[in-house]
Symmetry: C3
Subunit: 159 residues, 3 copies
Amino acid sequence: MTEPVDVQGLVARVQRLEAAEKIRTLIYDYAFHLDMNHPQLLSELFVEDCEISYAPNFGAVGREAYAKTLDGIGSYFVATSHHVSNTVIEFVSDDAATVRSVIYAWHRYSRERPDSYVWGQYRDDVVKVDGVWKFRKRVLCNAGSQDFHVKESNPIGRA
Amino acid sequence: MTEPVDVQGLVARVQRLEAAEKIRTLIYDYAFHLDMNHPQLLSELFVEDCEISYAPNFGAVGREAYAKTLDGIGSYFVATSHHVSNTVIEFVSDDAATVRSVIYAWHRYSRERPDSYVWGQYRDDVVKVDGVWKFRKRVLCNAGSQDFHVKESNPIGRA
Amino acid sequence: MTEPVDVQGLVARVQRLEAAEKIRTLIYDYAFHLDMNHPQLLSELFVEDCEISYAPNFGAVGREAYAKTLDGIGSYFVATSHHVSNTVIEFVSDDAATVRSVIYAWHRYSRERPDSYVWGQYRDDVVKVDGVWKFRKRVLCNAGSQDFHVKESNPIGRA
């Protein structure tokens, strides 16, 4: 004897699994376009009224302002590599979620200075707009860094 | 012409996909609570009769004993960052699975000594208890390390 | 009022989610068998007529030729650790996909020389053969490296 299946409910569950895949792709596309120096494609991952904080006094409100903070990253670095893992998604609704992930970033500079490293966490609010998942809010918190050119950072809040 | 759909079977398959998501969240929550210095939340990720081995002669049997091994980690490190990836889950049943993942860990000490690094693998047995996935057994095996304060380690078993 | 459910379509969507899990396992099994020094198991992850490029003039066409390039890796390194993340899968069909991922690799040599690091990207074509996902093409592109014994590399194509 088997219990009757809630097929509508099953569809909703599959949709959520698919949404999780798409949100992870968003998180990883960000790293990809950053490392590939695609500032235009990077800013398109954000909604119009987005908020970004890389550090206190280093971020942007709104996609246009964000695009400006990306100016110059192409020539500042010779190469970067952003390794994102530990991605945990919590759905607020079918169209909104909070996401926590961990970032290990390596940077090689155009100027003569040592490679730098950042170990941190991304804390994101993502939303689905016209069927596409985008960043509404992205905050980078640093557990620590080595030789990084940005001296201030948002703390992870270690107890 | 389409073959008839086994809807009950489909439900079971969706459940397994959802279980995989939850198991990954367990693996990543461990890293999160470790880096955030949340020893209480960390120990709650384990079942009562758990087994943990970080190295030969460094581990615990039972959640209470495990909680004691966590004493002092908060003051020993200024910061840590645990980056877990390559997570592969093999289900033993609907309520049990073995999990293999890879860990890159960075540690900054409270004492004056160089940052340390561990490159290794977690090998886990996880179980679903009262609807919640928890660690039954967690073994850390080191591929290698640099400047790490723990000198012994479980080998990965490289051929 | 609910719309009727396309159950056949739902099955196809679940299959795709399951395929994504299996493709990720393929990507992570490669790293596992590399670090465990399992050259035989490594080559079995590839189809017969595979193509591999680790660098210009360093790769193989065909599984047999690939197996030969793996000769000696066991004694060349004391230990390696390959950390793969940012895995993004794009399906071409039910049996074929392109995959992009990011790799952070650490190597400790048998000879007296410093540990080396590679930060890069894997770009893969994977195919499902007799129900099993395998690599058809695998290209490693380096964002950068440190102390690595291979001096040439495929570029990631940073703009």
